[in-house]
């Protein structure tokens, strides 16, 4: 206390990176929950690294059919040349699993960017403008939300690509299909927050001072209403992978010559299973499970940490953000509960 004269009070505040979304939760968590969060972060980290460095890690190309010794051959069991065997189409399973990570990551990124932008924009407009625009948007969003997401994604995929397509065509088709499904969720959350924030004193005062609508919306409302988004983001990434795999499994995937996609490979392995060929289905399937598991573990931990009922007992909700998040658990099934 004696040296407060010259040193500013910065010491009291934790360093800025302690307040970053994931880091903050990591510091806040204890015991089992910290274990879940760390496990999730590690798995997701490995997935991202594999996806980025796929060209270096994969022994062959995703559409490579022949090596120096000629064709790989179809349905070869795991061997030294092909660690995980080859598929019915004669591709190397390991290579396609690795390249598949890249496709999955691209789809997640495009889907999330699109749905965050559109969802936030619509949520802001809907919450801020209110009235008829709000009502119509919400009715449509509710109708879409109640619909089986896979079916909606199928319809969207038909619209966008008529089914089959090239790498980027396929990635965009899958991503946009997923976006259509997600927008209602983002819209709901952002709108609820906007409605809450809108009535706060600082927005009123901004109005009195004469700030423009756009300025109020972005400067005062948006920045205060994005607290629950990291939770939904993780949950939606895992759903994006599952939807992509589901689309691929139903034959709406990306052509094997254009990119590797896990769901498509699983579809092709359906008949293999009956004849006891296990390596063509187990590995792409495990890849999906692991990635979804990793992302879900992060999401679950964030959700638990935001919900005082579920947080491992250590300290009460500190910030208003957490208190709000507690009223709006973002786990998919609970989203419905608060709607």
């Amino acid at each position: 206390m004696s040296d407060t004269t010259s040193v500013p009070t910065v010491q009291v505040r934790p360093p800025w990176w302690h307040r970053l979304p994931i880091i903050q939760q990591l510091r806040q968590s204890v015991g089992l929950q910290r274990g879940m969060l760390v496990a999730g972060l590690v798995i997701t980290g490995i997935f991202v690294v594999v996806a980025i460095f796929a060209p270096l890690l994969a022994p062959y190309g995703f559409n490579q059919l022949r090596g120096p010794d000629g064709l790989f051959g179809a349905q070869q069991p795991p061997s030294a040349d092909h660690l995980l065997g080859t598929t019915v189409g004669g591709y190397d399973v390991l290579s396609r699993v690795i390249w598949g990570a890249q496709t999955a990551l691209l789809v997640i990124l495009v889907a999330i960017v699109l749905s965050v932008f559109l969802g936030i924009a619509l949520g802001l407009l809907s919450g801020y403008i209110g009235g008829w625009f709000d009502r119509i948007t919400i009715v449509i969003a509710d109708a879409i939300y109640a619909f089986p997401s896979l079916l909606l994604a199928i319809v969207a995929a038909i619209v966008i690509s008529g089914g089959q397509s090239s790498l980027w065509g396929g990635i965009f088709a899958a991503a946009v299909s997923i976006t259509v499904v997600f927008i209602p969720q983002y819209l709901r959350v952002v709108r609820a927050e906007v409605l809450r924030v809108k009535s706060e004193a600082f927005v009123e005062s901004a109005k009195v001072v004469g700030a423009s609508n756009a300025r109020i919306m972005f400067r005062h409302v948006l920045r205060n209403s994005t607290r629950t988004l990291p939770l939904i983001l993780t949950l939606n990434s895992s759903e994006a992978i599952l939807t992509l795999a589901g689309l691929g499994f139903l034959g709406f995937g990306i052509e094997p010559s254009a990119a590797a996609e896990w769901g498509y490979d699983l579809n092709k392995s359906l008949s293999d299973v009956t004849s006891g060929i296990w390596w063509t289905s187990i590995f792409p399937g495990l890849a999906i499970v692991l990635v979804v598991l990793g992302v879900t573990l992060i999401g679950e931990s964030l959700n638990d940490l935001a919900d005082p009922r579920l947080r491992a007992r250590r300290k009460p909700a500190e910030t208003p953000g957490q208190a709000v998040a507690a009223e709006q658990p973002a786990a998919r099934e609970e989203l419905g509960e608060v709607l």
């Binding site: 089986p148 034959g251 979804v292 879900t296």
Partner: protein
């Protein structure tokens, strides 16, 4: 309190499903037609341009889209969804024939989900943050993280291919199918039909075929139920009245079952209503995995053939089912919990 208010609530909720269905049907119609007319989509590469134009004209797809839309709405209203393009079958017949197969699968899966999910959720809540809880939560997350068709493939590989104890695919063996076809009228629910043939072998056969698909789809849903029951029971277990009951000497088992689970049931039921959408999506994939000839299997088949009239019909029907289920769930929740009101 109940009286008039409840009936008004029921009426309002009922009226609310109409715009929902309307929006979904409209959305599906316009989205599907954005790609062009269904005839070109399914037959475009097989017919000459002249034949194609003739077929398009016959089916009325060259008229203004709004006229077609109004006609479509009218047809949907009277339950007429048209005929599929590839095999010419009326959509309503397809829906009826295969809908019962999907219904049967969904019922089996719900039974599995309830039996597995709810008790395990209670156990997880009771042993909160201890190892039992951790294990069950990993199970719940795994059941969510595993795509339903991959779970199906693995179960198939283990039980049908390696252990050879259960059939690989289909709803019944050929012999049972023939027996069921021999009945005067079929319900389409094979379990009931098999019972009516009076042959215990047929019943056993039908059930053996149902085990793997039901487990596949049921475990997916069980994970969701488990998480939900856990969260809600944890919430109620920390209430004062539970402590009060414990201090009165109420046993731990009774405490969880009667005092904690019951108040937690209302949110659970509400959410189960939302799960019907997930369940139907999962059914599409499960049916494809096990060649279970229901709506989902047909949907995937028509998708592959690019028969968008059939796709549109099936999708519209599923949308209606979801909307109606949500309505029923809202009503049940209102009856159970006097606080859920109007």
């Amino acid at each position: 309190m109940r009286g008039g208010g409840f009936w008004r609530y029921l009426l309002v909720r009922f009226l609310l499903i109409i715009p929902t269905i309307f929006i979904l049907v409209t959305l599906v119609f316009f989205l599907m037609r954005l790609t062009g007319d269904p005839i070109t989509a399914s037959l475009g590469d097989r017919l000459t341009p002249d034949q194609l134009a003739q077929r398009i004209h016959d089916a009325g797809y060259d008229r203004p889209i709004l006229v077609q839309y109004l006609e479509y709405l009218g047809n949907v209203f009277t339950g007429n969804f048209g005929s599929s393009i590839t095999d010419g079958r009326p959509i309503s017949e397809i829906l009826f024939t295969y809908g019962s197969a999907t219904l049967e699968l969904v019922i089996y899966s719900l039974i599995v989900a309830f039996i597995v999910g709810i008790p395990l959720g209670m156990v997880a809540a009771y042993f909160r943050d201890r190892w039992g809880d951790a294990g069950l939560r990993v199970f719940a997350i795994l059941s969510y993280a595993t795509p339903v068709f991959f779970a199906g493939l693995v179960l198939k590989l283990i039980f049908s291919v390696w252990l050879k104890v259960l059939p690989v695919a289909g709803r019944a063996s050929t012999r049972t199918e023939i027996k069921i076809q021999g009945l005067d009228s079929q319900t389409g629910i094979y379990f009931i039909d098999a019972l009516r043939t009076g042959s215990s072998a047929a019943v056993a056969d039908v059930l053996a075929h149902a085990v793997l698909p039901a487990l596949t789809l049921g475990l997916l849903t069980a994970g969701v139920f488990l998480r939900l029951v856990r969260t809600n029971v944890i919430g109620t277990l920390s209430r004062d009245y539970v402590d009060a009951a414990r201090s009165r000497g109420v046993g731990e088992y009774r405490l969880v079952r009667k005092h904690a689970l019951k108040p937690a049931l209302v949110p659970i039921i509400t959410v189960i209503g939302l799960q019907i959408a997930l369940l139907l999506g999962g059914a599409v994939l499960t049916e494809t995995t096990f060649e279970w000839k229901g709506l989902g299997f047909q949907l995937a088949d028509y998708l592959a053939k690019r028969d968008f009239v059939a796709v549109q019909g099936i999708v519209a029907l599923l949308a209606v089912i979801v909307a109606v289920t949500n309505f029923i769930v809202d009503i049940v929740a209102a009856i159970l919990d006097p606080r859920v009101r109007y």
